[in-house]
């Protein structure tokens, strides 16, 4: 398992997890890694919790792993949930987007607000991203997944060129420019400051 990096992408079905995972996988391949990935489809798509996984390294066998080095979450509660997957001292890059599940809509449950606390207990580094705001700025809120991916580039070992090539390969031509803008905005928004976002 050593030498293999596992990235889990968590979110709500319909948020574009699969496209984000495809871009990430393409990037890792462009950067010369062996890559395995796994996605969840079917019933899980209808607004349920979904997790896709991308693993890269010198030689990768399994497409899944119960433990992630990095979690990219397109929704805050799903980011909170995915803490369970994250290795101690791992990084959680998450969209501050809130999509209330049914039990919260019906007021049977409260939307959890203990992310920071839970992350601290696990020594997890949090990277909150206003992915929807950035995507809207880029031209469509639907590009939030790609904006978030842009923000995650700082904790991934890929050169900018690899990301550019991957975007072109994975994103349909019609919406490529929009997604490039969203990606760049996300990347800029999460750029390391002096306190440092270091891996």
């Amino acid at each position: 398992m050593s030498g293999t990096t596992t990235v889990s992408l968590a979110g709500v079905g319909g948020q574009g997890i699969i496209l984000a995972a495809a871009i990430l996988a393409q990037t890792a391949m462009a950067a010369g890694y062996d890559v395995k990935a796994s996605e969840v489809k079917g019933m899980a798509q209808r607004g349920g919790s979904v997790v896709s996984t991308v693993r890269f390294g010198k030689e990768v066998w399994s497409p899944v792993s119960p433990r992630a080095d990095l979690v990219i979450a397109t929704e805050a509660l799903e980011g909170r949930r995915a803490l369970a997957l994250l290795a101690d001292k791992g990084t959680l890059v998450y969209a501050t987007t809130v999509i209330a599940p049914g039990s919260v809509l019906r007021r049977e449950r409260d939307y959890p607000d203990d992310l920071a606390q839970a992350a601290r207990a696990r020594l997890v580094q949090l990277v909150p991203v206003d992915a929807e705001g950035l995507a809207r700025e880029a031209g469509s809120v639907r590009a939030a997944n790609v904006a978030l991916l842009g923000a995650a580039t700082h904790v991934l070992p890929f050169a900018a060129g690899a990301w550019d090539d991957a975007l072109e390969l994975a994103v349909p031509a019609k919406i490529l420019e929009l997604n490039r803008r969203a990606f760049a905005l996300g990347r800029a928004a999460a750029a390391p400051t002096e306190e440092g976002l270091s891996q």
Binding site: V12, G42, R46, L77, G102
Partner: protein, 634 residues
């Protein structure tokens, strides 16, 4: 001890599980004793199939169906001559099993008959009914055809019992065929599982004297709505799967204790494990051998196998077709002779068995070996998330036309049999509108079974357009043929939505998005003589009226609730407006489970993904919800 194996109630001596003194079990000797008395003339001489039919009626059978297929056909034919059960031919074995399961769900003891290849057709419901369980007893009779007297293949359906993890009984003659049916029903109800009763040509079409037994009378259960048990969406199916695996271990212990699995002492140093017709051949070929006679041949009673090995130094497995038992014995690390001498194809008989085993007896007996019993398998429990976070199950989208139909349906007092698709999500809270989901197309057969049992439209079926074409047409024809009352609601959203909007015969759309002829469901229904009506799924009064009329009419109807999948309608959409003064947060609209409706502090709030479908308007009792002027829903 009473000999329960032959159900004769005759006392005989047993020491440590072995019959002592007479050197034989009571099974045959005592039966001969009984019938050599004055009652000989009155003992019927029945084929195995007739015996299965009569044994089923004796066991309180309420419903039977099947599709004709040699050598199974005479069971339903005989049942039709007997008093008691509702009996019908079905359009095929899959529909038969679903209909039988429906009758069992409604509390009947139900039997479904077919030939071996018929179980291939019925495999879809068979595999999942093993998860849901049955309520009333459900016995599936598979009549196999070794030698292919009248079949296109020679498949060994014992594998199906292992495959589906259900118990299997194998009678070896007519008396057992008669007796085992009651055992099968008892097992089915005690363990809440379908039971496979496996016969072969020589059992089904062999004849023997059958001593009748006293009829079984028991109070029948009623239909019980239990969504988590009968709606096999992933979350519920995972739990049922765990229960099924645990049940298999309990069944193995039962098999160990079962009087149907008899260790028969012999007077030579030969042991033979056999079941069904093969047992009768081996018994004649080697009358002095020890036998492990398996009446309940799945799960295999390892302990009894080991006891046989403790009694003799060489053991044979005599079975027709595949090494089903032999492979399991071999896996215990025990030396066994089976398919290396016993033919793998065709039927056996006593001469084949004798000629096969006799040369082996000249070999030196194998060295004794210690058996290695398989340890109990690991069953992973339901994951307990470390953090108590609100779960996020999949939901019907805002604007989904299925929700509109459920909003009406959930108010009616009918059982709603469901099917496979997005609309299965209607079973989840808060809608709780759907009570079964077994396999593609099963909604209609289950509905038929319940309604046949109840004699009225006690259940309706809900099925998507793509699923209807997949396997909803055959059970509808079947319901028409058998004059079964019911209402089939086709939720026609013009696509195969759950898997990502693929085409189907009703849309004519191909994988490359080109389009060909589109079949009209209404016309199709009329073609098979079933009245069909199409309404807009969002037209609440029309949907409600159609449902009520159909339930009251107690005939067979189809209601096509038409509205395209909201995901194919990119908008822009109008959105529902809330009159905060009128809203009192009663929760009626929230109960629709729409992700665009949220309970706010003083009134409900509408989220940005509202599509203005207007279903919530119809349930609001205070007129607090509205669409912008001129809006009329999508």
């Amino acid at each position: 001890m009473t000999c329960a194996a032959c159900c004769m109630g005759v006392e005989f001596a047993v020491a440590a599980g072995f019959p002592a003194g007479r050197g034989r079990t009571c099974r045959y000797n005592q039966r001969v004793d009984r019938i050599s008395g004055s009652s000989v003339e009155r003992v019927p001489f029945l084929s195995g199939n007739e015996a299965i039919a009569r044994g089923a009626v004796r066991a309180g059978l309420g419903f039977a169906c099947g599709y004709p297929g040699t050598p199974s056909t005479e069971i339903v034919e005989e049942l039709a001559r007997l008093e008691g059960p509702v009996v019908e031919w079905c359009i095929n074995e899959k529909v038969a099993l679903e209909t039988g399961a429906g009758a069992a769900l409604a509390g009947a003891r139900a039997m479904v008959t077919m030939k071996h290849v018929g179980l291939n057709v019925a495999a879809d419901p068979f595999m999942t009914l093993a998860l849901t369980g049955v309520n009333g007893g459900l016995v599936v009779v598979s009549a196999d055809d070794p030698g292919m007297h009248s079949s296109q293949n020679e498949q060994d359906n014992r594998h199906f019992a292992a495959f589906a993890k259900v118990p299997m009984l194998e009678p070896s003659d007519s008396q057992e065929a008669y007796d085992f049916v009651a055992w099968a029903f008892d097992l089915s109800e005690e363990f809440d599982t379908p039971v496979l009763l496996r016969s072969t040509t020589r059992v089904s079409h062999g004849r023997g004297r059958v001593v009748p037994r006293a009829p079984v009378t028991a109070e029948r259960p009623g239909y019980v709505k239990d969504i988590a048990k009968y709606v096999m969406v992933p979350e519920y199916a995972r739990e049922r799967n765990r229960l099924m695996l645990a049940r298999l271990e309990r069944l193995r212990r039962r098999s160990e204790e079962s009087p149907l699995n008899v260790l028969e002492a012999g007077t030579t140093d030969i042991g033979i494990i056999a079941s069904g017709a093969a047992y009768t051949y081996a018994r004649e070929a080697f009358p002095k051998a020890w036998f492990l006679k398996l009446g309940m041949s799945h799960p295999l009673p390892y302990g009894k196998v080991v006891r046989l090995y403790e009694s003799v130094s060489r053991v044979f497995v005599v079975e027709e077709l595949d090494p089903f038992i032999e492979d399991q014995v071999r896996a215990l690390g025990l030396p066994v002779v089976g398919k290396e001498v016993i033919p793998s194809n065709g039927e056996l008989d006593q001469e084949v068995v004798f000629d096969a085993l006799e040369p082996v007896l000249k070999r030196k007996p194998p060295r004794r070996r210690r058996p290695v019993l398989p340890p109990a398998p690991v069953i992973v429990p339901a994951p307990r998330p470390a953090d108590d976070l609100p779960v996020r199950p999949p939901v019907l989208c805002p604007g989904c036309p299925h929700r509109a139909v459920y909003a009406m349906l959930r108010r009616e007092k009918v059982a709603v049999m469901g099917d496979i698709g997005c609309y299965t999500l209607g079973a989840l809270p808060p809608l709780l509108s759907l009570e079964s989901c077994v396999c593609m197309g099963a909604s209609i057969g289950l509905m038929s079974g319940i309604n046949r049992r109840m004699g009225r439209t006690a259940a309706v079926a809900v099925i998507g357009d793509s699923t209807f074409f997949h396997s909803g047409v055959t059970p509808l024809i079947d319901a028409r043929y058998n004059e079964t009352p019911g209402l089939v609601i086709v939720l026609d959203n013009r696509t195969t939505a759950m898997t990502g909007h693929q085409g189907h015969p009703g849309t004519g759309i191909h994988p490359d998005r080109s389009s060909g002829p589109a079949l009209d469901i209404e016309q199709l229904c009329r073609g098979i003589g079933v009245p069909a009506q199409t309404v807009d799924a969002f037209d609440e009064p029309a949907v409600r009226t159609a449902i009520r009329d159909a339930v009251a009419a107690n005939d067979l109807r189809v209601l096509i609730a038409l509205a395209p999948c909201i995901l194919m309608d990119k908008g822009p959409h109008e959105q529902v407006l809330v009159d905060d003064d009128r809203c009192n947060l009663c929760g009626l609209c929230i109960e629709l489970g729409c992700p665009a409706l949220v309970a706010g502090d003083d009134a409900v709030e509408i989220l940005s993904d509202c599509t203005g479908c207007g279903v919530c308007l119809a349930v609001c009792a205070r007129g607090a919800l509205s669409l912008p002027e001129g809006g009329e829903g999508s």
